[in-house]
């Protein structure tokens, strides 16, 4: 019974994936991709990866979907480049790609049932941090250097996106100005949802220590609230030259890196935490990351400054 549920879910995901690549309009492709992401979220739950499921729904499907929908809308009138590969070439590509998929599938079926080394190691080392969520332990303690580098990647991506601004718009507010919407559902949601969103984000961060959740998932919800308020025209993003905004973006990575380096003195190794205060330190770092990552994610969706004249 459950096996059939999984098979149905997998087929649904593949059908949506096919629709996402086979549709001509970028808008329809993106919609299929977002639904695919939501189906995948259930697949991650079935695989027992609850933290990944939350991230997939929030980042993989939600934010990526918002980004692609915005781009699809702006490129809708772009002259379509109908230079598709010829039919024989496409058939050849299809055969080659099917070969890749079949090869990977054979590898999946040939996977051995391995000894659960890392799961056991992570569980037995959990007292070192006081966190009960094994995934968060890996993210914040055992492989913290990966997480720091990922923050740097987010930061570098934002620098890259901002550097795409035309000269005339540099230093101004990023993205387009959305005029304040007339009173309606969007305005209502943009006023009612953010307080709830802030609560949920804080809750996800707090329970992330012991249960599925964490700084990323909370940050994505905060980012969604920022985008919602902006979309309804209730507030605009600050100028990219704003010192406060830049400090906010650097706060999280700087705190994580600083605490990690302090570990050399306090606990004898980089990214080691003194055992007595490990959980408190991790929570402080996670809170700093929450605000920085939320701002960075939202600004990545908003895009570079592009308004040459100051908004009235």
């Amino acid at each position: 019974m459950t096996a059939w549920f999984d098979v149905g879910l997998a087929l649904m995901a593949l059908g949506l994936a096919w629709r996402a690549i086979a549709t001509r309009r970028a808008f329809d492709s993106t919609v299929a991709f977002v639904i695919y992401g939501l189906v995948l979220t259930i697949a991650w739950v079935r695989l027992g990866a609850y933290d990944v499921a939350l991230t997939e729904a929030a980042v993989g499907s939600g934010l990526t979907g918002a980004l692609l929908l915005g781009a699809a809308h702006r490129l809708e009138r772009a002259p379509a480049d109908e230079d598709r590969p010829s039919a024989p070439l496409r058939a050849l590509l299809a055969v080659a790609c099917a070969g890749v998929a079949l090869g990977l599938g054979a590898v999946v079926l040939a996977l051995p049932q391995v000894e659960p080394l890392q799961a056991v190691a992570a569980a037995s080392a959990a007292e070192a941090t006081g966190l009960l969520n094994p995934v968060n332990n890996v993210l914040m303690a055992f492989r913290a250097i990966d997480t720091v580098l990922e923050k740097m990647v987010l930061f570098a991506a934002l620098v890259g996106v901002w550097s795409l601004a035309p000269d005339a718009a540099w230093g101004r507010r990023p993205g387009r100005r959305f005029p304040p919407a007339a009173e309606g559902p969007l305005t209502l949601f943009a006023r009612v949802l953010p307080p709830v969103g802030v609560l949920i984000a804080a809750h996800l961060l707090w329970v992330g220590a012991d249960a599925p959740g964490g700084a990323f998932q909370g940050a994505t919800i905060l980012a969604a609230m920022i985008l919602l308020v902006r979309l309804a025209g209730l507030a605009d993003a600050p100028p990219v030259s704003s010192r406060a905004l830049r400090l906010l973006i650097v706060l999280g990575p700087a705190a994580f890196l600083g605490v990690g380096m302090a570990g050399v003195v306090l606990a004898g190794a980089p990214f080691a935490y003194p055992a007595a205060h490990a959980k408190a330190i991790i929570l402080v770092v996670e809170f700093a990351m929450l605000v920085s990552v939320a701002a960075t994610l939202a600004l990545l969706v908003v895009g570079p400054p592009e308004r040459a004249q100051a908004a009235p």
Partner: protein, 125 residues
């Protein structure tokens, strides 16, 4: 042969990689190429999830290390997508087209003449 959860979604991941690869190679539109590339990435993540499930310890759940790496990977792939979409929108703003073909059309003209400044302003206004 018994298909367990790991095998079912591992196979789905392999299928998504194949579909994404095909979409990236066969679709001429850059935005849909980006989308297909994301599809490919998510297929790879799903296969990694199947590996984590295979290494599950009784009473402890799946291997947390691949899960943490997939979470990191999802955020990084979003950052990369945001950067490439930014590049694409800028290309469109400068050249009026999203074609990746080297063409002697508006793109070169826009880059070499002072007309590019005005077209940027026109787009931004």
């Amino acid at each position: 042969m018994i298909l367990d959860v790991a095998a079912v979604f591992g196979l789905a991941g392999a299928g998504a990689v194949g579909l994404g690869l095909f979409g990236m190679l066969a679709n001429p539109r850059p935005l849909q190429k980006v989308l297909a590339f994301n599809l490919m990435g998510s297929g790879a993540f799903l296969m990694f999830g199947a590996v984590a499930r295979r290494a599950a310890a009784p009473g402890l759940g799946p291997d947390p290390v691949p899960h943490a790496m997939v979470i990191t990977g999802l955020v990084v792939s979003f950052a990369a997508t945001a950067l490439i979409v930014g590049l694409l929108l800028r290309l469109h703003a400068v050249s009026g087209s999203t074609s990746l073909k080297p063409q002697p059309g508006p793109r070169r003209a826009a880059r070499s003449t002072p007309a590019s400044k005005t077209s940027e302003r026109g787009d931004a206004a």
